[in-house]
């Protein structure tokens, strides 16, 4: 597949920029030239792309939590506390900021001050602005990334990149379809092309910004070929805008072979496709998310889910793993619970870092399968876009060719139905309008029928519901209730 999307021109980028910086008062403090100098003076150990690259070279798996609270001082304390165990730090942004509701976020800050605890589910970076955010960067000794879920993250990117954050999560599909209801893809892709261009501009000027599309999407039974396809698309879009450090992600599903195959095929195929498109000047790393769906509320059981995610991440040799906590099912974790998740993960990753990956027929088959599915789907998307990836994506979602299960967006068809097979791998029960080669689809169906036979029921919505609850109720496959 070859795409013809182009880089945003310098003029139109800077024109748009002017508007963006006006959308909230803190925008006026952004000075990109000064910011680039600031980045260049950061020590290597605080630069995301450097730390990721080194880990990848050493086949290491780094660990990173999610964390963000409303108040600046507390947010800094939180990160300082977590860096004792974490290799990479996050700053998770609150849900109002994600919707560009800065007035609501402002209220949230005030109410949090009054309540003496965070009433926001993250750190409202835009409201704080550049200097307070630099405070975050300067108070810790590890690289910090912005993690969020924002369809229009232009201002957030301007402010946080200017503040010295060296990595920015998201993409025009992955931060729209699972996170928004009514944002047109045309808009979110444009807005994210802006973000990529901004990151590209920094990078071209010697301040490399790592970009990480959000792999897990809705985190709920998303088949690997869907999420890998979207990850590669977002990777292509980002590289086209001059991004040089890209981390592609995937959310654990629970079947070891499928999960390892997903990470391996993601990295291999992304490299192939980037190069086919004449893109060579980049560093590609991977991120594995511990299970992103519903967690068990018992903390001991949650530890097992966390540990299995850590084990799979290490065996897949993902460059980093995003860590859940024993509080996952209940609410945003305390810093102590967050550290617990990190410690369990670190122990596991370290114990497994010394182990080689086994090569089995099953694994090789699964890798081949996912690559084949992704290539096929990518070709359909480019075709329908007449070679233009952005147009292809928009039309593909419209037609249901790209389809993410359980997504809240009205621009997502929601016709594809996944269920687990008898080994817990996620397969396609009904592709909806997603194009799949007939023999591939029948492989999926066969796998599901095998499970159905064993469970003595026909695969239907109830099977899917059982799968949704399965891990939180203590297993992987949602067996019929007795």
């Amino acid at each position: 597949m070859l795409i013809n999307d182009c880089k945003i021109s310098q003029t139109s980028f800077f024109q748009e920029r002017e508007e963006v910086l006006k959308t909230w008062s803190t925008g006026k403090d952004v000075n990109i030239d000064e910011a680039i100098e600031y980045h260049k003076n950061l020590p290597e150990g605080k630069i995301f792309s450097k730390v990721m690259k080194r880990a990848d070279d050493n086949s290491q798996t780094l660990i990173q939590p999610r964390a963000g609270v409303a108040l600046l001082g507390e947010h800094i304390q939180l990160l300082q506390y977590l860096q004792q165990e974490a290799d990479l730090l996050p700053t998770t942004i609150d849900a109002y900021t994600r919707q560009n509701q800065y007035i609501e976020a402002e209220k949230g800050i005030e109410k949090s001050k009054a309540a003496g605890r965070s009433l926001l589910n993250g750190f409202p970076a835009v409201n704080y602005g550049v200097l307070p955010c630099r405070n975050v960067i300067e108070s810790v000794s590890k690289p910090v990334q912005v993690r969020h879920g924002t369809p229009d993250a232009r201002l957030l990117a301007e402010i946080t990149l200017a503040s010295g954050f060296t990595s920015f999560e998201g993409g025009g599909i992955s931060y729209n379809i699972p996170y928004a209801k009514k944002v047109p893809l045309e808009k979110s892709i444009n807005d994210w092309n802006y973000v990529y261009r901004l990151a590209g501009f920094y990078s071209e000027n010697g301040a490399i910004i790592n970009i990480e599309p959000f792999g897990p999407l809705t985190g709920t039974l998303v088949p690997p070929f869907i999420s890998n396809t979207i990850a590669i698309i977002e990777g292509l879009l980002a590289l086209k805008q001059g991004v040089k450090s890209i981390t592609l992600g995937y959310g654990q599903l629970g079947n070891l072979i499928q999960d390892v195959a997903a990470i391996i095929s993601l990295k291999e195929l992304a490299n192939e496709i980037f190069k086919e498109n004449g893109l060579f000047d980049y560093e590609l790393t991977t991120v594995f998310h511990q299970w992103m769906g519903g967690f068990p509320d018992d903390e001991s059981r949650a530890f097992a889910v966390i540990s299995w995610g850590a084990a799979t991440a290490a065996l897949s040799k993902a460059t980093k793993v995003i860590v859940k906590t024993p509080h996952e099912a209940m609410g945003i974790p305390t810093k102590e619970a967050n550290l617990q998740g990190l410690k369990a993960t670190k122990q596991m990753v370290n114990m497994l870092s010394d182990q080689v990956m086994y090569q089995s027929d099953l694994l090789i088959h699964e890798i081949g399968m996912i690559k084949k599915e992704v290539r096929y789907l990518l070709n359909r998307v480019t075709e329908i876009g007449d070679g233009n990836l952005k147009d292809g994506v928009i039309r593909a979602f419209e037609a249901g060719i790209l389809d993410v299960p359980f997504a809240p967006s009205i621009y997502n068809k929601g016709k594809l139905i996944p269920v687990r097979d008898n080994d817990g791998a996620v397969r396609i029960l009904d592709p909806g309008f997603v194009p799949m080669e007939p023999e591939v689809l029948s492989y999926h169906k066969e796998k599901i029928e095998q499970r159905a036979r064993i469970e003595k029921r026909t695969p239907n919505y109830q099977m899917l519901v059982d799968d949704i609850y399965a891990i939180s109720k203590g297993r992987l496959v949602g067996r019929p209730r007795k």
Binding site: G108, L119, L120, N121, P178, K181, M330, P408, S472
Partner: protein
Amino acid sequence: MHTIVLGVIGSDCHAVGNKILEKVFSDAGFKVVNLGVMVSQDEFINAAIETNAKAILVSSLYGQGELDCEGLREKCIERGLDKIILYVGGNLVVGKQDFDYVEKKFKDMGFDRVFKPDVDLIEVTKLLKDDIEQRFGNKDSK
């Protein structure tokens, strides 16, 4: 058949539970008006008025429910929904907090019942039937 309005309040995008709630309450014989995710207080109230609903079932998962739900009861009364039943469920506040505290907080806001994420939904459908009959009488009137 009782009509109920369902939705996830505020800027909350968690869609999975919402789809399951729709299914369970439909199967239990309710007429479900599902507004999906990211629903404002006004959208809830408009839909309830339009469809002559007996209850509004609010979900909040993302932690900011405490901020989003404030004033819903008052607004319902303002708009003439003086008898409407208000349920709320999910991960209602930020963090793992004592449920008694959470329940009291939301009851004080005017919710009739408050539910944890792991509540048995079949039980809730029964509770809701009882609550509706008690508040509106056994007939299908508002």
